[in-house]
Structure formats: structure tokens, C-alpha cells
Subunit: 392 residues, 2 copies
């Protein structure tokens, strides 16, 4: 009898029958989705009238769910890659967020997300260490003619050590996301808190701006109806990045430097961004090396060099700043190219080729490849964890 | 010809044909929902396979939508009351948020919201005045055994006038909402910015806490399966309010007073809340008149006195603090009871009766009735606009 109890206990502990727990991304009290240690996820949605229901992990997979007799559709997925994944349900083809999940802004809309724990990893968890704060600011931009909203991370002790001044990292979200992404999905504040507590990086301010902009009085750049990577889409992206650059240089940076205790010089100013935010980073920083000396592209960099598949021409690309690698290395303390090993081929190859071209041209840079992850937040959390310690 | 142009122009301006504009609550670039000056709303959702689709304004009305030949369901609603309204679609009975709308946390989930402008009103708009900031803090609570998240509004100039100290208003969301409600739905920061700019209130810090709590090691209080207003639900609410009170008094207030430049005494500390937050306010403040001297119940107050319909007993209710009205008026600078004129009968009558009983017992208080609004954010925005100028 005792043996049977032990066997049952063993089976329970090891075979995953009872190890499913509500996801940390769920709303208060929601039982599903549930996640187990292997990364499997159990989803539930009641839709008695529906003919087909799928769970839709954006860009990765659509999995058919099964209707139970009570009208609830269920699935236990194969193991998912650790990290944060956007998802929705497709109910007879309509995209439906899961009301059991908190909403996260991605793809231009508020959708569901599920956090798959990575065993042995806690660098983005809330831990018992001193915590920074995240501030919301509203500023009026003469460039866009609108009120703009940004989030700003201040390190622990910012309020108590009132004479301290800090370097600044400008950190941008990706296309379809917004200024909340790096906190809600990326957990950038906890990553910094944890790095700081273990003495691995310098205290810094992080500014997360709204990455969309249009020049006042002109039609807003739109991607509607433009194929991904097409010349038309790249042109709209360029217009957007140009307005974003003007707002950042003419309004946001002066605002931050006059409202926060920054060290307002190029040696203490960095910019990084993911995907579209990486493109914006390359645009802003290479136009303004008078303002920035640290540059990070997380799964994104100079647009045509990555998505267009064109080879880097050091003489002319990026304003010719790479033409003299020794001078560039003196001027730019860090040029970072990051990518996930499992990203879609065009993105992965584009970034690897950029890295190789930089190597060939003897341009000093750091190339980082996140193992096993795609164009997703786990890649960018790791980028930030490795990138931040190299700053300032 | 000129006359015809003028007539067309007049028709366009006055007859609402062309006056529908995308709602301010929409995501970037979303055309629908559209709102006109009379408060009518146009909704759209594509659901070619659905048999029935309704738009569902919570607690108010469900309106049938009409299927067009392209599979898009449409409706132009009758005029809605100005302010913020939660809504979802009901597609064959499944509750579906509108992906064109930003998500707002209410009813325990992230759902859609539509802002109906109130003509002639701008007290909660972002205006060209100095803006405060909203901070996110994370603190560990020994009471709940968890990390807790709160939002804190700091008035303009908090960072520049670094010797200034400020009074504090603790401001709570309602049941089913969370600490983000007063900013996202309530626009409390803009209300304060505007009041301050016109010299109508004193600069203050506003703390918006997460209104749910359970004592560490005990099962979380749950409302699941409990009828609204039932003794079981009131008991769960009481347990929740008790844990919330302990966290607030033992952890949050000390945290705020040691991390922000507050004036840490009862004369400079207020608490108010809406609905469930009003109940929490009455619980916390009447237990701790050593800590608070301003009390606001916005569509919510001492639970059993409102929802239970029981008449106030000044001798025993609220810890007997009202038994000596003269002493109470000396101790408590403001007791505020607010309600919307169109609230559900139980809630409206409960609050009006509480107000009458306070009058009968000669307990000094302010009664405020928001004209034409129900148990909704427009009522509470107006409460805050009238309440804040009476503080400190």
C-alpha cells in the first residue's frame, strides 16, 4: 500500500499530470491557460455554437482545439519555447482574445499573452532586490503636433540620492507594439533591477518612447495594404522613422534632459530597439553620432540592409560612418547586432550577413545570437540582459 | 449653386451624416468605433459565420447588430450618455473584445471601451497645462506575502521643487477593476493637472493601490458563485477589505511616506474610492481616524448600509464615530457621499438613504449627485473634480 502511494506520488511529480499551473500572465483568479514545466499549455474557451476553434500563436502556429460535450473547446499544446508569446483564439475565423489573459499591445491591438517559464532562469522575475520605478510622462511635440506618452525607468535610489546624475538608454519597441511593451512583455525594469542588484550594470535611466510619428500637418505614414518588406512598406517606415527621429532629437531628448537628472552628453547616451525599433535606432543614432555613443539593434537594424538582403557598403551606407573602422571604434563604444537563432530566414540571414559584412570590413561590434528563440520577447529580454552591462 | 453648397455644408454640419469620428479610445489607425456629437456610436465587426451579433454595453443594454453582405456586422446606436463605457461584442453568445479599441481592465478582464465626448466639457482632457507624472511602484507586502503594484500621481514640479512636501490622496478603483482604472478610464491625472492649472485645488500626491488582497497563507477571498449583495458575497468582500486594510496601513502608507515627499499626518491624508473602493475607504478610514481626516465614497460606502439597505445607526455603525456629530465634524474635515442620478435603484437609494440618515443625525457631510449618469466613470470623474478642491 505504501509502495502504491509512493508510485502515485512519483507519477504525479514526474509525469506532468498535476504540474499544470495558471500562467503568470492570467488575470486574477483565472485558472486557464495553464502551463507545465515542459512548456505545454492548456487553453479553454466556451463557444458552443462554433464550428472550428484554433489557438493562434502569431507567426508560429495555429493549433486545432477540440469541442467537449459542454461546449468548451480544449487543447494541451506541444511544449512551447520559454518566454512570452502573443496569442488569440480563432473562432470560426474571427480573432478573439482570451478574457482569462491580461491584454498586451502587439500587432496594433490588445491581445492575449502567455508566459512560459524557462527552468533555471530568473533574470526577468520580480525578486527581493531594490526596485526602480517606471514613470509615465506626457509631452507635447511641436514635430508631430500631438501629445505623446512615454515610459521612463528610474533606477532604485533615484529619489533618495538626489544629487546623482545618470546615463540614459533610449529603448524602443517593435512594429505593432507600443511604449508599454518593454515593461509589460519585456520586463525591462525587473531585468535592470536584477542586473543592478548583482552589480552587473551601472544605474541608468531608460526611456521608452512611442515609436510611431508623423510630421504635423502631413498624412500619417501608414502600412495598410503594403506587403511586408516591400518598397512601399519600407518607404512608409522611412517616413515614420524620419518623423520619429525629429521628435526624439528636437523634443524628447531635450525634455528628458531637462526633467530628469541625466548626464546629458553622447558618452552617457545609448539607444537600442527591437525589430522596427532597431531600424529606428540605426536611423537616429547614425544621423546623430554627436548625441549617441552606444547602439543596439535587437532583431532589427538598418532596414534595407536586413530586410532588403542588400550587402553592406561601408563606404556609403549608414552615412559612411563605417568607412574608417578605427575612427568609428573610437567614436562608438558599442555597436550591437542581436538575433534569435530560430527567427524567420529573411530576418536571421539579413542580420547574420550584416554581422559578417561588419567583420569583413573590420568594424568593431558585438554579435549575439539567442539560442532556440525566434522573433520574440525572450530573444529581446536576453539581448537587454547582455547589452546593458556593456553600457557606460 | 453657392446656395446649394451652403445647404450641403449646413446639412453636413448639423445632421450628423459626416460628423462621426473615430473614438479617442481606439487603437492607432482604427476607423471604428466612430462617435458623433450626439453620442451615437457606429460599431463594426467582421463575423461572416455568426448567426447573431450584439454590442454589449455592460449593465446597460445589448443591441442587435445587422449583417451586411460582406459578412461585416454593423450598428449605429441611439445616443449614449457622455463618458467612458465598457463594451464587448456578443458573437453567438461569446464575449469578444473589439480589437479596434484599446483594452481597459474592468469586470476582472481586459475589455473594450468607448469614450463619448461631453460637449462643452474638457476637465478630463489633456490640455496645454503643466503635467504631473504617474509612477508605477512595486512593493513587497508582509501582509499578503506577495509583490504588489500601485500607481502614484505626482503633481507638476514635484521633481524641480525638491524641498516641497505634499498631502496624499489614496484613491481606489471599483470591483473588477484594478490600479490602472483611475488613470486609463478615470483620467485622474488630467483632472488634477487641469484643476491645479486653474488654481482650484492644492498640489497633492495620489496613490492608486491594487484593491484586492488576501492574508498570506490563507485562501484568497473569492466572489465566484456568490450572488451580488448576498451575505456570502459581503463576507468575502469583508475578508478582502480586511486584508487590503492591513496591507494599506502596515505596508503601503509607510512605503509611500518613506519613498515620497509626503506630509505624513492625518490632516494631510485623504482616502476616496468608487463602488467597492468606497467600501474599502469607509473600512480603512473609520478604523484609522488617527491616519485620515478626509473621506470620500463615490457610488460606494459602508457595505451593509448601502447594498444591504439597512438604516444607519449612528450609535454603533462605523465604530460609533458618528455618535457625537460635533466631535466628528472637528475630527473629519470632509465626509463625501457621491452617486449618479441614474444608478441602479438599490445603489442609488442606499446612498441617498445614507445621506438622509446622516442629515437626520446632524452629521456634517457633502452629498453630490452627478446628473444623468449611472454607476460609471463619468460619475466618478465628476466626483473627483468636485472632491479634490475640498481637500487640504
Amino acid at each position: 500500500m505504501k509502495q502504491l502511494v509512493l508510485i502515485c506520488l512519483f507519477a504525479t511529480l514526474c509525469c506532468g499530470q498535476e504540474t499544470f499551473q495558471p500562467a503568470s500572465t492570467n488575470v486574477w483568479g483565472a485558472e486557464y491557460p495553464k502551463v507545465d514545466n515542459s512548456g505545454k499549455v492548456q487553453f479553454r474557451i466556451k463557444a458552443p455554437e462554433a464550428k472550428t476553434v484554433q489557438v493562434n500563436f502569431w507567426g508560429y502556429q495555429k493549433l486545432d482545439m477540440t469541442k467537449q460535450t459542454d461546449g468548451v473547446w480544449t487543447i494541451t499544446t506541444p511544449p512551447q519555447v520559454p518566454g512570452f508569446h502573443y496569442y488569440t483564439f480563432l473562432v470560426d475565423g474571427i480573432e478573439v482574445p482570451d478574457l482569462n489573459s491580461h491584454a498586451f499591445f502587439g500587432g496594433g491591438k490588445d491581445v492575449s499573452g502567455v508566459e512560459i517559464p524557462e527552468p533555471g532562469t530568473n533574470f526577468y522575475d520580480v525578486q527581493n532586490v531594490p526596485h526602480g520605478q517606471v514613470r509615465e510622462i506626457w509631452y507635447h511635440s511641436k514635430v508631430t503636433g500631438t501629445w505623446r506618452h512615454a515610459l521612463i525607468y528610474q533606477p532604485p535610489n533615484y529619489d533618495t540620492q538626489i544629487k546623482g546624475r545618470y546615463p540614459v538608454l533610449y529603448l524602443q519597441h517593435g512594429g505593432g507594439e507600443d511604449e508599454t511593451g518593454w515593461i509589460r512583455q519585456g520586463r525591462a525594469n525587473f531585468i535592470l533591477d536584477n542586473l543592478l542588484a548583482s552589480g552587473k550594470c551601472k544605474p541608468m535611466i531608460i526611456v521608452m518612447a512611442y515609436g510611431y510619428a508623423g510630421h504635423a500637418g502631413k498624412p500619417e505614414p501608414s502600412f495598410a495594404g503594403k506587403a511586408f518588406g516591400s518598397p512601399e512598406m519600407m518607404k512608409a517606415m522611412q517616413e515614420l522613422a524620419s518623423a520619429f527621429e525629429d521628435d526624439m532629437v528636437q523634443v524628447l531628448i531635450p525634455y528628458v534632459d531637462s526633467n530628469f537628472r541625466t548626464i546629458a552628453d553622447r558618452d552617457h547616451r545609448a539607444m537600442a530597439g527591437l525589430s522596427m525599433g532597431g531600424m529606428e535606432t540605426f536611423q537616429v543614432t547614425f544621423d546623430h553620432l554627436d548625441l549617441f555613443s552606444y547602439i543596439g539593434g535587437f532583431s532589427g537594424a538598418a532596414g534595407p540592409l536586413v530586410l532588403g538582403g542588400r550587402k553592406l557598403d561601408v563606404k556609403t551606407d549608414l552615412n559612411g560612418q563605417l568607412a574608417d573602422p578605427a575612427a568609428f571604434a573610437k567614436k562608438v563604444h558599442l555597436l550591437w547586432i542581436g538575433v534569435g537563432s530560430e527567427e524567420p530566414k529573411g530576418m536571421h540571414d539579413g542580420l547574420v550577413n550584416l554581422h559578417k559584412a561588419l567583420d569583413e570590413a573590420h568594424v568593431q561590434h558585438v554579435f549575439y545570437e539567442s539560442p532556440g528563440t525566434s522573433h520574440e520577447w525572450q530573444t529581446w529580454r536576453r539581448d537587454l540582459k547582455e547589452f546593458a552591462p556593456k553600457l557606460f
